[in-house]
């Protein structure tokens, strides 16, 4: 399973950033029809190789231009909410564990052999504040005189935008350097802190800041796919919690919004107390599987 996950993460990261003509075309980013589709994970649409749009960036822009709409039906970004809600309803945060390119980058960084630290758990609430404030409220309410807001998460925080968008674009188009201001240096500092943090603390950005992870986390108790726990097989050995990249105790925190369904816990359990499957209706118990020998 770990190899399959690495393979999928690699294929998605490179496959969705596969536009290689950026040095030769008129524009340094892909401008084709695929940009009408959002990436299920966090992937900057200004990345020169990006084929898809960023759902967080797109939603903020919808919110930012909500008051700016003149006549006709206001563009409310329901297409993004519908798209992300559909994905969240089916797979929840599995997207974070298997699909998200920025999650993949953090997984790679965490492989650097250094001393590792655990996260102070209350910080996990931060991502909900980031989602509510910088992705929804600020783009709607902090508007200029013409009624146009800004994508504040992209502008102030997004490390994926700095790494995948800003840095390659500034290298490819040096003329853009004249336009960068305090926001760039602020974001660069945040990016460096997050990248160092990802080496020391597993999935730091996903657990503390990511608004997309916060949104998908809302579906953790109702998504179609889920982790299953067979209580009778559990011997409380703690193998699952030692492997969990988000610091959970999987046998006690089934359906946690923090779970990215990487399935490391399922692989680590020799007693088949954890499994992955389709959610059953309430009242239908998980089918008890015979515990395998730990040897």
């Amino acid at each position: 399973m770990p190899r399959l996950r690495w393979l999928i993460q690699t294929l998605v990261a490179f496959g969705t950033n596969a536009y290689l003509l950026f040095p030769f075309g008129g524009s340094v980013i892909y401008q084709g029809p695929l940009k009408a589709v959002c990436h299920p994970g966090l992937n900057c649409y200004s990345c020169p190789g990006a084929l898809l749009s960023c759902p967080v960036g797109a939603f903020q822009n919808f919110m930012a231009s909500l008051r700016f709409s003149t006549g006709g039906f206001p563009q409310m970004g329901v297409i993004v909410v519908g798209y992300l809600g559909f994905i969240g309803s089916v797979v929840g945060r599995l997207t974070c564990g298997w699909i998200c390119p920025f999650g993949f980058i953090q997984d790679l960084l965490h492989k650097i052999p250094t001393r590792k630290f655990s996260l102070w758990k209350p910080l996990r609430w931060g991502k909900y504040a980031v989602l509510g404030l910088t992705v929804v409220a600020m783009p709607i309410f902090l508007v200029d005189s013409s009624g146009l807001g800004h994508p504040w998460f992209c502008k102030l925080i997004c490390p994926a935008g700095t790494l995948e968008g800003a840095m390659p674009l500034l290298l490819l188009k040096p003329s853009l350097w004249s336009t960068v201001g305090w926001a760039f240096w602020n974001k660069l500092t945040i990016l460096i802190l997050i990248l160092i943090g990802a080496i020391l603390i597993s999935r730091l950005f996903c657990r503390v800041i990511c608004p997309l992870g916060a949104f998908y986390g809302l579906f953790s108790r109702i998504s179609l796919v889920q982790l299953e726990f067979v209580e009778g097989n559990c011997v409380e050995c703690g193998a699952c919690s030692r492997k969990c990249p988000t610091g959970l105790v999987p046998n006690k925190e089934i359906d946690s919004p923090e779970c990215i369904m990487c399935l490391k816990c399922v692989d680590s359990c020799h007693f088949r107390a954890l499994d992955f499957g389709i959610r059953r209706p309430p009242g239908k118990p998980v089918k008890v599987k015979r515990a395998a020998s730990p040897l």
């Binding site: 524009s27 340094v28 980013i29 401008q31 029809p33 940009k35 009408a36 589709v37 959002c38 900057c44 649409y45 200004s46 898809l52 749009s53 960036g57 797109a58 822009n61 919808f62 006709g72 039906f73 563009q75 409310m76 970004g77 329901v78 297409i79 993004v80 909410v81 519908g82 798209y83 809600g85 559909f86 309803s89 089916v90 994508p151 992209c154 502008k155 997004c158 935008g161 700095t162 968008g165 800003a166 674009l169 500034l170 336009t179 960068v180 201001g181 305090w182 926001a183 760039f184 240096w185 602020n186 974001k187 660069l188 109702i222 998504s223 179609l224 389709i278 959610r279 209706p281 309430p282």
Partner: protein, 43 residues
């Protein structure tokens, strides 16, 4: 399959269809074709 899941899927599919039919798709396409100055850190 839980009933809640089916209701959610229907709800989000309806939202998606509304978005497609109210011009969100064109907006998204135009947005994706422009360099995001906020991502670069202009300002």
């Amino acid at each position: 399959m839980p009933k809640q899941f089916l209701l959610l899927i229907i709800f989000f599919t309806v939202l998606f269809i509304i978005g497609v039919n109210t011009g969100d798709l064109t907006y998204l396409l135009n947005l994706g074709a422009t360099i995001c100055l906020s991502c670069i850190g202009v300002g």
